[in-house]
């Protein structure tokens, strides 16, 4: 069994004491920041990125992954206790989780979320170990033309599955690509779109971009409408679900995990889509009596399992193809680039310790989350009581210091201010930042592959449709666009997003 030997090798890496410590720190910090209201996982990962600069690639990635699923779990905690989804993927958890809390069953809701996430995480880890190597092997055979088409497909799929207007999302992708092109062109050495600023020769900072759009501007928008929410901190009760709860939820967890694992692999998928789909599916197939929306524990178990499974399997396109399916994965790629590693299928063969170490660490991280969350729930609840007026200046401090420490350039601080202004206008106009961030990361790679493909084909663009795999990606992308543009399906799509 190759998987087993690979996983054993990965466990060897992940179980070194320093990696365990980093995994633990990551899970702990991720949960801590994720619990704080109004900070999503993207902002959490971006803010905590500087903590990994001093580490090697493997511990850095392990810690970031821990931060990511810690933040995911932290988001669910706020969803259940305060009815504020810490991130979009726990929106559906608020439906039944908050109702359970209001009925005095906050403890079991938190407990089942942790247990469901743990089971889902374990299974998703196996899915990655089983699915990623063959995918990377195929991807290694890709020529530039196939790569370019794959990225087009990935971007289209990501915007189709995202919420909001499709055409605006595609426009945001283009804008992101253009911003990504700022800086030195590797082929000609020309510094593009820098307005004579030598600081822009290395391009816009990805960390600055992510923090501006997901950290600073988010705070600003939160400050515009300050809301008060009722917090259920008084009585949580035992976090252990009863045996009856577990029996009710068994199949929900299984279904959520399966659905989440599949949807996580899709570009644009990941935790958000997984949790929505799992909740809707559960509403249809769960055994009566169904009390969804009124505190049905299955309405917590299924989406929580699904979003954790989806969060983990979304590492598959990132690790094997170097293509991020959501902004968090884009940040992971950014972190790899900062570490001097070019993401792509070669990572698995050239840096097996990185790849398998990360996968094995996910399993350990999930175990840690379970151990960390159930006993520490009391501590997380105290954090919920921290008022926002104390929290948001701290977010500013983390973002500003964080962005400075990427390159130790004060220029980056001004950059984050400028980008925040831009982000503010764009968000006011309902332009989603996620597609833009994906475009930003993929833009330079797309240009590079397009150039190479055209170089090889002597300027003949038909190469994209005469090579079968490339053609398949482009046809799939076109089919997705047509499908979503058709009015009948569009109505259905919007209906689904409404729910």
């Amino acid at each position: 069994m190759e998987i087993l030997s690979n996983l054993a090798f990965g466990l060897g890496v992940a179980l070194s004491w320093q990696n365990i410590v980093y995994c633990f720190i990551g899970c702990f910090l991720g949960t801590l920041v994720g619990v704080l209201p109004g900070i999503g996982p993207v902002a959490t990962v971006a803010m905590l990125l500087p903590f990994t600069f001093g580490l090697g690639p493997a511990p850095a990635l392990i810690m970031l992954a821990g931060i990511y699923y810690g933040a995911q779990y932290g988001g669910s905690t706020t969803a259940i206790l305060v009815n504020i989804p810490g991130e979009s993927s726990s929106v559906v958890t608020t439906l039944d989780g908050y109702q359970m809390a209001r009925r005095g069953r906050a403890g079991p809701a938190l407990g089942i979320a942790a247990i469901g996430s743990f089971i889902a995480g374990c299974i998703a880890t196996l899915v990655i170990a089983w699915f990623a190597p063959p995918l990377a092997e195929i991807a290694l055979k890709f020529s530039p033309a196939e790569y370019f088409s794959l990225m087009v497909f990935g971007l289209i799929a990501a915007v189709v599955l995202a919420r909001g207007s499709l055409i605006k999302a595609i426009a945001m992708v283009c804008f992101g690509i253009l911003l990504g092109l700022i800086g030195t062109d590797v082929n000609s050495g020309v510094i593009r779109f820098a307005f004579g600023a030598p600081e822009l020769a290395d391009g816009l900072g990805f960390v600055a971009l992510a923090m501006a759009f997901f950290g600073i501007t988010d705070v600003v928008l939160n400050l515009e409408h300050e809301e008060k929410q009722e917090v259920f901190t008084s009585r949580i009760g035992s976090v252990l679900p009863t045996l009856a709860d577990l029996r009710t939820c068994g199949w929900s967890i299984a279904r959520g995990t399966a659905l989440g694992s599949v949807l996580g692999i899709l570009p644009g998928g990941g935790a958000l889509l997984a949790s929505f789909a799992a909740y809707m599916f559960e509403k249809k197939v769960a055994k009566p009596p169904r009390n969804f929306g009124q505190g049905d524990i299955r309405g917590v178990a299924a989406p929580e399992s699904a979003n954790n499974a989806g969060a983990q399997t979304s590492f598959i396109p990132m690790l094997t193809l170097g293509i991020p399916s959501n902004p968090t994965m884009a940040l992971m790629i950014g972190a790899l680039l900062i570490q001097g590693i070019a993401p792509g299928p070669q990572v698995m063969t050239e840096r097996p310790e990185l790849f398998w170490g990360l996968i094995a660490s996910m399993w350990i991280g999930n175990l840690m989350l379970l151990v960390l969350n159930l006993p520490l729930v009391g501590l997380w609840i105290k954090l919920l009581a921290v008022p926002y007026r104390l929290l948001f200046p701290a977010i500013f401090v983390f973002c500003c210091i964080g962005v400075y420490t990427v390159d130790n350039k004060v220029f980056d601080v001004y950059e984050i201010a400028a980008l925040s202004g831009l982000a503010y206008v764009l968000l006011k106009l309902d332009c989603e930042p996620a597609p833009m961030v994906l475009g930003f990361i993929l833009g330079p790679m797309m240009e590079e592959n397009l150039r190479r493909a055209m170089m090889i084909s002597f300027g003949d663009p038909s190469v994209f449709i005469t090579r079968p795999i490339s053609a398949a990606f482009l046809i799939a992308a076109a089919a997705l666009l047509i499908a979503i543009a058709l009015p009948a399906l569009r109505a259905k799509h919007e209906e689904a997003m409404q729910e």
Binding site: C174, D430, M454
Partner: protein
């Protein structure tokens, strides 16, 4: 003609401006041909696509009913940007301690509800925390004081 969807109208206009802007800026670089693409080729293509999509969004805003542009509140965004710029200036000339102080003390005014004493205390805590964690624990090369 009547704008039915102001949000889309302005977003589209912004996209057209950005797309055209990038195309114009790219004029100063070599275009090359499809076989050997110059540094201007890809930005021009993507900029063109962006301007095209922006134009469609603008045209569509005359037909499809949509939302109005929400109010821009000057205080939160203005104070936030000011605080960040001041942080940058202070970090460059006065070091981390002053920079964090200025960021917290000014930044807090982005919210309406400011309690001066509490704010000073928060600034103190954030200074201690960032010096302890970023400089001492993580060893990041941040200047602590002026000219250090």
């Amino acid at each position: 003609m009547h704008i039915r969807s102001p949000k889309d109208f302005w977003a589209g206009l912004l996209f057209v401006a950005i797309g055209v802007g990038f195309i114009l800026l790219a004029l100063q670089y070599r275009l090359g041909d499809l076989h050997r693409m110059g540094p201007a080729m890809f930005p021009t293509l993507v900029g063109g696509l962006l301007a095209f999509l922006g134009a469609i969004i603008v045209l569509r805003s005359f037909v499809l009913e949509g939302e109005r542009v929400p109010r821009f509140y000057a205080r939160p965004i203005g104070v936030t940007l000011l605080a960040i710029v001041l942080f940058g200036l202070a970090l460059q000339w006065l070091g981390l301690v002053a920079a964090v102080a200025v960021l917290v003390l000014v930044g807090a005014y982005a919210a309406r509800d400011v309690r001066p004493l509490e704010n000073v205390a928060l600034a103190g805590v954030m200074i201690l925390f960032s010096v302890a964690v970023f400089v001492w624990l993580l060893g990041l090369p941040l200047p602590l004081w002026p000219n250090s």
